[in-house]
């Protein structure tokens, strides 16, 4: 059942991505993406329902698309400009890509472990989805800034960077508290995923400081777009399994 929901959600995002290119189908694309988001949230609900009170494992790529779509549908809610349409198209495309990655490289067969039955573990994961979605959206805004006047977009990049960074930081802090309560240590160094988490935090800390200096606008934008690749390499990739061909779609 979970697999059907996840595949359907990905399919709907893919369809929305294709339909969003011609302007006349934009409303339909929004509707399909909205439906995909509902189906994706249903998938998340089932994963949580089965694992509760433990935390479901390896959700880094499968759980982000619905949150990315919610943020994207809100951020690009106006149909007025070409930038808004393109932004929305990229959001649907990225959501579909993450969904496809999870279908071709699944890791959802791992069972949760008992120590994840903690409010801090749950919060750590939830903040992680929101943080990742916010940072992806900042990257999309930065991409748009290369083909439009920078000024109004720059504040949007900064806003979504700040939103993503705050959630990412909250995820890191709740993770530290969980680690302290569960293992007696703030950082468990033999877990590569944790250093990837730190790497991304340092990357975006550098980027936010670069925004504060208000200099090197082009470098800032390039680094924000590169953040999408960084996130996929260091924070989506660890949650992917080996290639499964043909993919299990149901």
């Amino acid at each position: 059942m979970e697999k059907v929901l996840q595949s359907s959600s990905t399919g709907l995002y893919l369809l929305a991505f294709i339909l969003a290119w011609p302007r006349k189908f934009l409303k339909l694309a929004r509707g399909l993406a909205g439906l995909g988001t509902l189906v994706g949230l249903g998938y998340l609900f089932l994963r949580y329902y089965r694992a509760w009170p433990m935390t479901p494992m390896f959700m880094g790529s499968v759980a982000v698309p619905p949150f990315l779509a919610i943020f994207g549908l809100w951020a690009f809610r106006s149909n007025a400009t070409e930038n808004q349409r393109l932004g929305l198209t990229l959001v649907f495309g990225l959501a579909a890509t993450l969904g496809l990655l999870s279908s071709f490289f699944p890791k959802d067969f791992y069972l949760p472990f008992l120590k994840t039955a903690s409010l801090f573990s749950q919060a750590h994961l939830a903040f992680n989805f929101l943080g990742k979605a916010g940072l992806f959206l900042a990257g999309i805004w930065a991409f748009l800034s290369f083909r439009a006047s920078l000024k109004p977009i720059s504040s949007q990049i900064h806003l979504w960077l700040a939103i993503g960074y705050v959630f990412w930081t909250l995820s890191m802090l709740t993770g530290e508290v969980w680690s302290y309560l569960g293992w007696g240590l703030p950082v468990v160094w033999d877990e590569p995923v944790i250093v990837c988490f730190m790497a991304t935090w340092f990357y975006y800390t550098a980027l936010l400081h670069l925004f504060v200096t208000n200099r090197r606008p082009k470098t800032r934008r390039v680094l924000t777009v590169a953040g999408i690749v960084w996130l996929i390499l260091f924070n989506v990739h660890p949650d992917l399994g080996p290639l499964r061909w043909p993919p299990t779609l149901w």
Binding site: Y49, R50, A51, W52, P53, M54, L111, P112, L114, K115, A117, S118, F120, S121, S155, L159, A162, V166, T169, L170, L173, E176, V177, W178, Y180, L181, G182, W183, G184, L185, P186, V187, V188, W189, D190, E191, P192, V195, C196, M198, A199, T200, F202, Y203, T205, A206, H209, L210, V212, T213, F234, P238
Partner: protein, 282 residues
């Protein structure tokens, strides 16, 4: 008299202070740390076991033994230590310069919200000091196994004895995940502490993520057998494995986390106000 101070020394101190207070330096340090920790991702996967003792033997011992002997896999950790030291100094100096300007004689309205980022910077310094203290001063006792209703074991430094008994467990309900059917989520372990004289001091329930504190030591549930309410455990024995740690610096990094959270809240409030003002202008 100001003239008695050697000018060159004053200028040197000032330029060092300004160098460490630079935002550009913060950017370079953070980018260095991002690349350094990103390199660690494949390296840790190659030598997982090298990093496991880090929490047990302490930072210095680890650096001079495990770390040094497997340097090709652990060099990034030395880089991380150097990087975070610079980051700590940079955060402190950078924020002190700006806090001085915010709280100085030309203080503006809404100054409190402007302190948000500086709270987070000071929190980073506090957390880094806490981590340093934790990895250098913490004491980890060798792992202990207890049998419920079995003999107690003696705590170090003549602190007394600890034994365990079982109460009503909490079990994974239903068959939502078939594998976990009838598994203990919380086996219902109660630790009893007794003074060396034999007088009982207190009892507390221990579970995963729910440590018990006694005489400055934290007792963590590391593992337990049997896992399943329908099985008898390894060889029919019920066993509880404990990790015992004394971490005098834990309160420091927890204080850092709280200060950081306050700083983030102030920063968000300031950001919301800025965007509201921009919206009104538009």
């Amino acid at each position: 008299m100001a003239t008695s101070r050697p000018n060159w020394l004053w200028r040197l101190i000032r330029s060092i202070w300004l160098f460490f207070g630079s935002l550009d330096l913060a950017v370079y340090i953070c980018l260095f740390l991002a690349v350094d920790t990103a390199l660690a991702y494949p390296l840790i996967q190659k030598s997982l076991t090298t990093f496991i003792p880090l929490g047990e033997v302490g930072l210095w011992t680890w650096l001079t033994s495990y770390g040094r002997l497997t340097f090709s896999h652990t060099f990034w950790f030395y880089g991380l230590l150097v990087g975070v030291t610079f980051l700590g100094v940079n955060s402190f100096v950078c924020s002190t310069i700006r806090v001085w300007a915010i709280l100085g004689p030309r203080r503006k309205k809404g100054w409190l919200l402007k302190l948000g980022p500086h709270f987070t910077h000071y929190a980073v310094v506090v957390m880094l000091l806490g981590y340093l203290g934790s990895y250098t001063l913490a004491e980890a006792l060798p792992g202990r196994a207890l049998v419920p209703d079995g003999p107690p074991f003696k705590l170090p430094k003549n602190l007394g004895f600890v034994s365990a008994r079982l109460e009503k467990p909490k079990i994974y309900a239903g068959q939502r995940l078939e594998f976990f059917d009838q598994w203990y989520l919380d086996p219902g372990i109660v630790l009893s502490f007794k003074k060396p004289s034999g007088d009982q001091t207190f009892e507390a329930r221990i579970a995963y993520n729910q440590p018990v504190r006694y005489a400055g030591y934290n007792f963590y549930l590391a593992d337990f057998y049997p896992k399943n309410a329908t099985s008898a455990g390894m060889g029919g024995y019920k066993t509880i494995k404990l990790t015992i740690r004394r971490d005098p610096a834990a309160n420091i990094y927890i204080a850092g986390i709280i200060i950081f959270a306050v700083g983030v809240a102030l920063y968000l409030a300031d950001l919301a106000q800025t965007f509201r003002k921009r919206g009104q202008k538009a």
